[in-house]
């Protein structure tokens, strides 16, 4: 445990130091990658139990709208508080559905979560007070009550996003090795046996769903802080598809691979949209096909040493 904490701290400090020296466009790209990686990390919590949420865009949208609304209406502008509120709100709004969703498996779980996110999208598009299909902007965040200068905002949002990404990855690593985490893995293999042995499948899956919702809201709020804008497309199915894309790309064997995969996706997207503006989706699709074909367990399976540890 101590070794894990020290490693996480070193990773955080190294990435923080590196972030201070990279150009602002790269800083922004990394911030978005880490924020989106948090949403995908939530999907991995569920994937370990054998289900894939195709509606995580909704959690991201709830987190994003919460952060932007709290910022604009209540005047709370703190960069640490807003993502936490986003995560909590996503958790609260979706909490009543968790026990219901815990009973679904396979493609039906994916489709029900997808339906929920599309209902959310439809409501957001038609809600004029939330800006309708255009959404609305949010201003510059503060940190511990300190107003930040123009050149500081980007780095601060990067640092906060990095902090949440490392802390959540650390939590995930510990959770996956805990009894509850191992039960989740057993559910994927054979849930009836888990029940026979006294484990509660529905409770485990509901907790995983809550955690996934929290991470989705957290990631959405951080993305909105970086972008300065929120719109209903956060909840559209193509956004959810990208989060699943990252989760599949990473696999379920390593939490570090999730953040790396998200960075890889952002890099592939940014470069292919810069250099092949008309064919970047073609490149992205080809890339995904190759990963699924040749790395069916995701990038996490490339890790040397023991398998299936986390």
């Amino acid at each position: 445990m101590i070794k894990l904490l020290i490693t996480a701290l070193l990773v955080f400090l190294a990435a923080l130091a590196a972030g201070a020296f990279v150009p602002r466009w790269l800083q922004f790209m990394l911030t978005m990658a880490l924020a989106n990686g948090l949403v995908s990390l939530g999907i991995v919590f569920l994937m370990r139990g054998g289900v894939v949420a195709f509606g995580q865009g909704l959690m991201s949208a709830i987190g994003g709208y919460t952060a932007a609304l709290v910022f604009n209406m209540l005047g709370w502008q703190d960069a640490i508080l807003l993502p936490l509120l986003g995560g909590l709100m996503a958790c609260l709004i979706t909490a009543p559905f968790a026990p219901l969703l815990a009973g679904y498996r396979g493609i039906f779980f994916s489709m029900l979560t997808l339906a929920m996110s599309m209902v959310g999208y439809g409501i957001l598009v038609k809600t004029d007070s939330l800006g309708g299909s255009d959404g609305f902007n949010m201003g510059r965040v503060t940190l511990f009550g300190q107003t930040l200068a123009d050149q500081q905002v980007s780095f601060t949002v990067y640092a906060v996003t990095l902090f949440f990404a490392v802390a959540s990855s650390l939590f995930a690593r510990i959770y996956f090795s805990s009894t509850r985490g191992l039960i989740t893995q057993a559910i994927k293999d054979n849930e009836l046996r888990v029940e026979y042995m006294g484990g509660s499948v529905s409770r485990s899956m509901a907790i995983n769903f809550w955690l996934a919702s929290f991470l989705g809201g957290l990631g959405g709020a951080l993305a909105v802080m970086a972008l300065g804008h929120i719109e209903p497309n956060f909840s559209y199915w193509t956004a959810s598809g990208e989060f699943v894309f990252v989760a599949i790309l990473a696999g379920t064997q390593s939490v570090v691979a999730i953040m790396l995969s998200s960075v890889v996706l952002e890099v592939v997207r940014s470069f292919s949209s810069s250099y092949f503006p008309n064919t970047w989706q073609l490149a992205l699709g080809l890339f995904l096909l190759l990963v699924i074909r040749f790395l069916p367990q995701g990038l996490g399976s490339l890790r040397p040493g023991k398998k299936d540890a986390s």
Binding site: G106, M118, L192, L286, R293
Partner: protein, 298 residues
């Protein structure tokens, strides 16, 4: 009463093309066990191909009524050209994988086809309104309806019956049913399973392209037409039950009517009414209306 009739006609008209598209989706799922996100892209290909062929037909001075035949031929061409390429050239390498992973494979196909469509037809919209006026207007009660919309209902019934007949009353249909139940045993009985997969996939694509081709006169054919169709046809097959023709028909009617009801009575709910219905059906019938609940394996 007039409003109810309008909702019914609008709902059935919307359900008709949706049924044709969803029928292809459910057929592919039934045989290949793939929920194909790229199905919407084949719908778009059908729409683009029809737009091009009808424009060429009109330019050559052919009779406007022949444009219906041109749209049919466009859908057939899309199926013949793309099915072997995608099924033999791509999908077969992923058979046997987890069904959610297969959804991701088709998601990748969807991304690629979006760009390929743009590369072939460009980003500008295409309009082919000529066939839409072919059947004139038809008066029902005090309301006048576009004849083409009602023609689509007839087309959907014909297509649905043809697929049902093909699967239930022909030798080829029995072979497909055998492959659905057990590809291994079907193979040991001398059936070439890979060929059944390819032909079934081609029929599925043909139905998607047919739906696209015959809706082309009603819409502006432009990049992005596939995105909305994918999820709404998913809703249809999930409501009806994956792999069921009857389910696709009932699902399409439910979706069509739900949307028409929302449009006429509560426009604010238009965008999400369909998904709300889908969620409600899944809550009470987790595997859809026409799917038997499967026992969990120990």
């Amino acid at each position: 009463m007039q409003l109810a009739l309008t909702i019914l006609v609008d709902g059935l008209s919307y359900a008709s093309w949706l049924f044709i598209v969803a029928l292809g989706l459910t057929l592919v799922f039934g045989v290949l066990k793939i929920l194909n996100i790229a199905h919407g892209s084949f719908y778009a290909l059908g729409a683009y191909a029809a737009a091009s062929v009808v424009a060429w037909f009109s330019g050559s001075g052919a009779s406007p009524s022949l444009s219906l035949l041109a749209m049919l031929l466009a859908a057939i061409a899309v199926a013949i050209l793309t099915a072997p390429l995608t099924e033999r050239g791509l999908l077969r390498f992923y058979y046997g994988r987890d069904e959610v992973l297969l959804v991701l494979v088709t998601y990748a196909m969807f991304l690629m086809m979006e760009d390929i469509t743009k590369l072939i037809w460009g980003a500008n919209p295409y309009y082919v309104s000529e066939p839409y006026a072919l059947f004139g207007n038809i008066d029902i009660g005090r309301q006048s309806y576009v004849g083409y919309d009602l023609f689509l209902v007839v087309l959907a019934v014909v297509v649905g019956l043809a697929v049902w007949w093909g699967l239930n009353r022909t030798r080829a249909g029995k072979i497909v049913t055998a492959v659905i139940h057990s590809p291994e045993i079907a193979s040991s009985m001398g059936i070439k399973v890979s060929r059944v997969y390819m032909v079934s996939f081609a029929v599925g694509i043909f139905l998607a392209a047919l739906g696209g081709a015959f809706t082309a006169p009603m819409i502006s054919v432009q990049p992005g037409v596939s995105v909305g169709v994918i999820i709404i046809s998913f809703a249809v097959v999930i409501i009806g039950g994956l792999g069921s023709i009857e389910g696709a028909a009932i699902g399409a009617i439910i979706v069509g009517l739900a949307r028409a009801l929302a449009v006429h009575i509560m426009p604010v709910a238009e965008l999400f009414s369909v998904y709300l219905v889908m969620a409600l059906v899944l809550v009470f019938r987790p595997e859809g209306l026409f799917q038997r609940i499967q026992a969990r394996k120990i």
